[in-house]
Symmetry: none
Subunit: 428 residues, 2 copies
């Protein structure tokens, strides 16, 4: 497999002022083109460091991309460093100069000395004309290892990569393998349990398939990828592990696709079953409704909801019994159940769901600690509640509760017998 | 100046699947603590590579942070690599094990073999207990050079850096040159208008102050920073530009602080004035309530709200006139006004606000295009509506609407005569 290095230059990246989206964009681009990204280096605008890193990468990687350090301001010393790596002089390039002059004439701006200097390039390079800006790209070769030096402005870099560099790579590295990636998404099963359930995937990994578990507050995603001579070939290599994962994950799998959202999956089931939903939110404070309504077309099944932050609202808008509120407290099974049923009735929805809990960071007691959440469900007459204790972080508690509620609805509607995190349903 | 290296581990970072926000967060954090970030390395989940990079950084940098590669799944080999760098064995740490057991017990989840393995740590390390998750952080020292190995999950890494690592660094590296950064936050004024209003800041920048405009869907933030021997010294350098910005931005400034949220500022005003609020959301679908309830303590002034996605809910729950809905349509001034007043009455709140619009991407007409939003306000008897057209992007429209509503409430409560984006209020 052909190896690639990415070198991003700039103090703004080191001090965290700019998130390094160039590196991830190039990562995706080169991975899909069949390269293995071995390293991403972020280094300062310093001559010695730039020279050292470029020198080393050009010796070890088949292809190296450098971005940044090519603007018209004084801290740009990349060109000098790269000229010294290839042991050559700088020369004014007439094509670049006239391109820069054109740009300034069109905009009606005055050219400065530093703009004229942008037309200087190392003699060893092939110039990559940058139609999106004034800084030229540069292409170098040494012993069949290649180097592209590109400006750091994202749209200029992307233009040069897509339009100018990409055809060169295809010509120089024919028959590179194509990568295919798939994402398996779950909610309500801890990474460790999921991994135990799936068991060893070594047999597939030995066969060139890569596997990664990606956990987060919105669930655990498993990413698999494989390469092949073409798309069909790569997909063929994924066939067995896909089948294996489908079987092993089973009904815990809510869907596939990097950007797939659980609310979208639930929305499709509701649409198919011609069911409507309404939400009664206390501790999630609107986050559940927000998640549902992020999906376009959700107005077809989402009737709406009530954010019942104050206790009297739980009574007046959702019909929660005042006596129950007093005896059991707002964060209780009984109130969660009544909220879910109440909102379904009020909104004339087939499904009512509710959340009530101690979101934190304050407000916890010994009996009802921060992170305690009760979730109520009224699904076409099925009435139950789930409870668990999440974290001490308010925003994470909101997110996790929303995901568990949506996943519980998905499982119930599909007739799956289990609940997220193997929680036990409480019935009135 | 003390040098720092950041090593981020993970194939998902190399292939561009995950944007490396951990690196930028740590970059900001360590820069403000007085370190010079010399390198950011992103490397694969490979034992040899991890060992080689950690070895080298621990030899050259005063402080190295490693993130990633500590989860409970099989691809995690960071701990082994780091144990070998420090030439030591792995040992089960009882404190970590009991912490992991506590987490699982509290949540009522079953522990797996791989969770138990998470309690194994190199004997050479000091364990950093990770209250946010199961993977422990680790701290190493070698010849007065230090290494922190942290999980890659962002909120866990941030917790350990802020709460556990930071005090250690302060003690070990006293007298570092300190950076002070301030953020001036606005909503409802375009970047270009704000920049015209403020005028040139060159005189301050010549004096070593750095300035940046950071625009986004949640408003425009201006960041200024300067360094000094200590905090007082750095603050002194910022004194004049701060005074200048305060004067020039004036009442458009809703507050200062990187993580300050407009909902928090509005919440403080409501608390001070002893006022309560309720929300009636159509196009924002819960996002407004979600934003308000993200603030801890919001239950003191947030009564709740109604998500009135379906038209009949606008009538049944908020008392919107059926006739008005027919004649003017759901996205109209009259309906926005009635929703705001209706929710204030229903929830017995001092303030009612409402949103109704075409969030997109579908559903627009010639008269009512995608992005059209009406916002209604009932503030202690003051009744008005604002309207504008945002973008074709559903999520951005939700976010922008929420910010404009909150900013309008802020301005009204503070007696500021203008509205966001110089919108004109419509009164019934």
């Amino acid at each position: 497999m052909k190896k690639a290095h990415i070198i991003t230059i700039g103090n703004e990246l080191l001090i965290g002022d700019t998130v390094n989206t160039n590196a991830s964009w190039i990562g995706i681009f080169l991975t899909e083109a069949g390269f293995e990204i071995e390293r991403v280096f972020t280094i300062p605008d310093k001559y010695d460091v730039i020279k050292q890193f470029i020198e080393k990468s050009v010796e070890t990687a088949d292809f190296t991309v450098v971005t940044g350090g090519l603007g018209p301001t004084h801290d740009d010393i990349t060109k000098k460093a790269v000229a010294d790596v290839f042991d050559c002089e700088m020369v004014k390039n007439e094509q670049v100069l006239s391109h820069i002059e054109d740009i300034f004439e069109r905009r009606g701006f005055r050219m400065s000395e530093s703009n004229i200097e942008q037309a200087d390039v190392p003699t060893a390079c092939e110039v990559l004309i940058n139609k999106m800006g004034t800084a030229p790209g540069m292409w170098f070769e040494k012993d069949q290892r290649y180097l592209a030096v590109l400006p750091g402005v994202p749209h200029e870099m992307k233009y040069l990569m897509s339009v100018v560099v990409s055809p060169k790579l295809k010509k120089l590295f024919p028959g590179l393998e194509v990568w295919v990636t798939e994402y398996f998404k779950t909610v309500g099963i801890p990474e460790s349990t999921l991994s135990d359930k799936i068991g060893s995937l070594d047999e597939f990994m030995n066969n060139g398939v890569e596997v990664a578990y990606l956990p987060g507050p919105a669930g655990v995603t498993i990413r698999i990828r494989a390469s092949g001579a073409d798309r069909t070939d790569a997909e063929e290599r994924l066939r067995e592990i896909k089948q294996n994962l489908n079987e092993k994950i089973g009904s815990d799998l809510y869907g596939k696709g990097k950007n797939l959202r659980l609310a979208e999956v639930v929305g499709k089931i509701l649409t198919k079953k011609k069911l409507t939903i309404a939400v009664a939110e206390s501790c999630t404070g609107g986050h559940l409704a927000d998640e549902i309504t992020d999906i376009s077309g959700s107005s077809n099944y989402m009737k709406g909801g009530v954010i019942a932050y104050a206790n009297d609202i739980k009574t007046s808008m959702l019909g929660v019994d005042e006596q129950t509120l007093k005896s059991d407290g707002a964060v209780s099974m009984a109130v969660a159940l009544q909220m879910a049923k109440g909102v379904a009735k009020q909104f004339e929805a087939d499904i009512g769901v509710s959340t009530t809990g101690i979101a934190g960071p304050g407000g916890g007691t010994k009996d009802k600690p921060v992170g305690l959440v009760w979730m109520g469900f009224w699904i076409q007459g099925n009435h139950f509640a789930l409870n668990t204790i999440f974290t001490s972080n308010r925003l994470i508690n909101k997110k996790r509760t929303v995901m568990v509620v949506l996943e519980s609805v998905r499982r119930h509607l599909l007739g799956i017998g289990s609940y997220p995190y193997e929680l036990k349903p409480h019935r009135p």
